[in-house]
Structure formats: C-alpha cells, structure tokens
C-alpha cells in the first residue's frame, strides 16, 4: 500500500477521537437511547454520519449508540472518576461502586465495556 496514493481522510485522528468521545459520553435518554441532539445542538444522526460508516443492519447513529450505552451505563462515569483511580482496587472508589457489586440485569451487564467488566471482578468476590 502506498499512503501517498490514498485520499486523505477529512477528519484528523484527534478530531475523530474528540467527536467520538463527545458522542459516546453523552447521558442517555430515559429510555437508555442515545440523545437525538448533541451538546452543540446538532442532530446526532448528522454527527454520527460525519465519521461513522453504516452497515447493512445498523445506521451510523445506531453503531455509535452501542458505545454510548456501554459507556454511559458505567457508574464510574456518572461519578466522574478517572482511570487512575480505577486502577487501585482498594482505593476509596470501592465504596462507591455499588452497582458493580450486585448483578445488573443480563443485558445491561453485557454492555459494560470489557475493561470495566474485568475490573468489577474485584468487587464481586
């Protein structure tokens, strides 16, 4: 493959990461769906289509929504706790991880990101 012969993507890596982080970290609606409009008022269907490709079963919006559901269901995110704190299983954070101790419903639990599902093992034992 020759990089010089390829069309340059419209968005830089940092722009893609900022756009995706902003979308997937938005609070969900009461029905646990991704919000129709972003923080800047733009329609999320338009935002999603600007950098996510659809497939034959899912629109760009629906694909982004999978990540939004995974991330926004995390109690950690709601508490505004960052990765460094998460890495210490005996930090004061353990006292705040109530939802991880119990058994979230089957579907909800599956949608937690892998990184956090593994971490939560410490709090269930």
């Amino acid at each position: 493959m020759n990089p010089d012969e390829m069309k340059r993507p419209e968005m830089s890596l940092v722009d893609v990461q900022r756009a995706m982080a902003s979308a997937v970290m938005m609070p969900l609606t009461a029905n646990e769906e991704m919000r129709a409009t972003g923080p800047d008022g733009r329609a999320m269907t338009e935002v999603a289509s600007s950098f996510v490709a659809p497939n034959s079963r899912l629109s760009a919006f629906e694909r982004l929504e999978i990540y939004n559901r995974q991330i926004e269901r995390l109690p950690l995110m709601r508490l505004g706790i960052h990765a460094k704190t998460v890495q210490n299983p005996f930090s004061r954070l353990s006292a705040q991880l109530g939802p991880c101790r119990g058994r979230p419903s089957h579907h909800r639990q599956h949608r937690l990101p892998k990184r956090v599902r593994i971490f939560c093992r410490h709090f269930r034992a």
């Binding site: 493959m1 990089p3 390829m6 069309k7 993507p9 419209e10 968005m11 830089s12 890596l13 940092v14 893609v16 990461q17 900022r18 995706m20 982080a21 997937v24 970290m25 289509s49 600007s50 950098f51 996510v52 490709a53 497939n55 034959s56 079963r57 899912l58 760009a60 629906e62 694909r63 982004l64 999978i66 990540y67 995974q70 991330i71 995390l74 950690l76 995110m77 960052h82 990765a83 460094k84 998460v86 890495q87 210490n88 299983p89 005996f90 639990q109 599956h110 949608r111 990101p113 892998k114 990184r115 956090v116 599902r117 593994i118 971490f119 093992r121 410490h122 269930r124 034992a125």
Partner: protein
C-alpha cells in the same frame, strides 16, 4: 525452537485468566495449569492483598501480563506514572511478554473507560507505531498488541483492519496478540470474511492467541466473554495454529464465571488443535 522472539521463544501451552472467584480452588487444590494471564492494572499497587495473592501464584505458576488501559492509539501520550508502575509489576512477575489493545480510550485528559476502535488511517498507523515503540523501549520486554472487537467503522478508514494491524506491528517491530473471537465478532459486525483476516496477518509475529465466547443480538454481536467458545471461532483458531504453529493460548471468561474446572476444561479444548498441528508436523517429517 518453539515460539518466536515476540513471546521470548516460549511455548506456554494453554492458560486461563486469573480471576478472584477461582482463588480458593487454586490455593486449596493447586491444579495443574500451564499459565495464568493477569490483568496488569489489577496489581499495579504498592501493597495489599492483590500483591500477596499474586506472589503466591508466582511461586507455583507462570504468569503473563495483559493490560487494558495503555490505549496505544490515543493521541494523548501514556501517563509516565502508569508506565513506571507497569514496569515495576513486570519486574515482579517476570512476564516474558506483555500485551495490550490496539485501540484508543482517552482524549484531552478524558477517559472513556472503553476499548474504542481506531480509524484505519496512515495517521493512526504512525501515531500508534510511535506509542508501541516507546512503550516497548521503556519496558524492555516484547510487547504484543491485541486486535479489539468493534461495533463501529469509520468513514475515513483507508485500509482494512488486518492491513492496519499488519502495518502497525511491522513498523513498530512488535508482536501480536491475535484474538480470534474478536475477529469473529468484528467480522459479523462489519460484514467481512473472518478467515481472510486470519490468513492475512503476519503469522511469524503472533506471540499469543485469545479465545473467548460472546453474545449474539438481533443486529450485532457483543464481545462479552461469558460463554463457551463457538465452533466458528474454533475454526479460526485451528487456522491460526496451522499458520503460526504452537502458540501460547488463553481462554478469556470474564462474566458469569463458572467453576474453575469448567473454565479450565473449555480452555483445554485448545490442546486438541495444538496436538493436531504437532501430529501433522511429525507426519510430514
């Protein structure tokens, strides 16, 4: 000689993840296990019970470290304190190689706590290669990058996922943790032939293989690590071993964890593929 330079020429056999629900069984029964994979971040602390448990495990078993927060593809550089603690743990476990994911997860100081897919662009190749090289140089052991499962693809991608993975590992001169379950999950979610992926990756760089189960939904598959390995994933595993030779293999089971024996027996199914390869090799000589 077994293995390759990316797994320190070792043939570890078939291992399982070290998980708390199994501690009692492991310490009381002392089962024969080829090796355990630990999640590095769970032991990157100064003192306490996790390290005490780890030291007991290290007395009797081989341990390989697997990380979940290096975020090789993040634009933001890794935290030097995180790297220092990781190196400290590497010295403690004497892990022959270390793995983490080919993904991103943080930007501008905000952590998503997820393993997010990268756009497969040349810019992402360059950025990721730079990160992998610097981490590998700092840790002074072979680093293997793992392909993640994903649910979204990017309009700006300039190559396939396996082309991207190949570019990264060859330019960074690092190893690869080939997760055949992740390949299967992504193949369904992105509508490609998973065997094309397994056939395309540079086999000589595969340091380790992951196998796992997943959950199927109406329109997509989620990488949940809470089921036995399905036959199509075993087929990908068989092809990977055919191409790579005997490679350290690890079963991931992270949710609804069954008994130690159930997890271990599921992992040991991999041995039949490793033995089949050894048999074919012996027959050819």
């Amino acid at each position: 000689m077994p293995g390759n330079r990316f797994n320190a020429f070792s043939n570890h056999g078939v291992g399982i993840g070290l998980r708390i629900p199994h501690y009692r069984h492991i310490f009381s029964r002392k089962p024969v296990v080829d090796w355990f994979e630990i999640i590095s971040e769970n032991f990157m602390i100064d003192a306490g019970r996790p390290l005490h448990v780890l030291d007991q495990i290290l007395e009797q078993y081989r341990v390989v470290q697997h990380g979940v927060s290096m975020y090789f593809g993040s634009v933001t550089a890794p935290d030097p304190e995180h790297l220092r603690r990781l190196k400290e743990l590497v010295r403690r476990t004497k892990t022959p190689w270390l793995s983490d994911h080919l993904c991103w997860g943080s930007v501008d100081g905000t952590y998503t706590h997820d393993l997010l897919p990268l756009p497969y662009t040349w810019e992402a190749v360059e950025r990721t290669v730079e990160r992998v090289r610097s981490v590998q140089d700092f840790l002074e052991i072979p680093v293997a990058v793992e392909n993640v499962s994903s649910y979204a693809a990017f309009t700006g991608s300039q190559m396939t996922e396996w082309e991207f993975l190949t570019e990264v590992v060859e330019r960074a001169d690092c190893g690869m943790l080939l997760d055949v379950n992740n390949i299967y999950v992504s193949s369904v979610n992105h509508e490609f032939n998973p065997m094309d992926y397994v056939n395309a990756v540079p086999a000589e760089r595969v340091a380790q293989v992951h196998i796992a189960g997943h959950s199927k939904y109406e329109k997509y598959i989620l990488d949940t690590h809470d089921h036995p390995v399905i036959d199509p994933v075993w087929e990908l595993y068989a092809r990977a071993i055919e191409r790579c030779g005997p490679t350290p293999t690890l079963l991931e089971w992270d949710d609804h964890i069954p008994s130690f024996d159930e997890v271990h027996n599921e992992a040991k199914k991999a041995e039949r593929y490793l033995q089949r390869y050894a048999g074919a090799l012996a027959g050819a000589e």
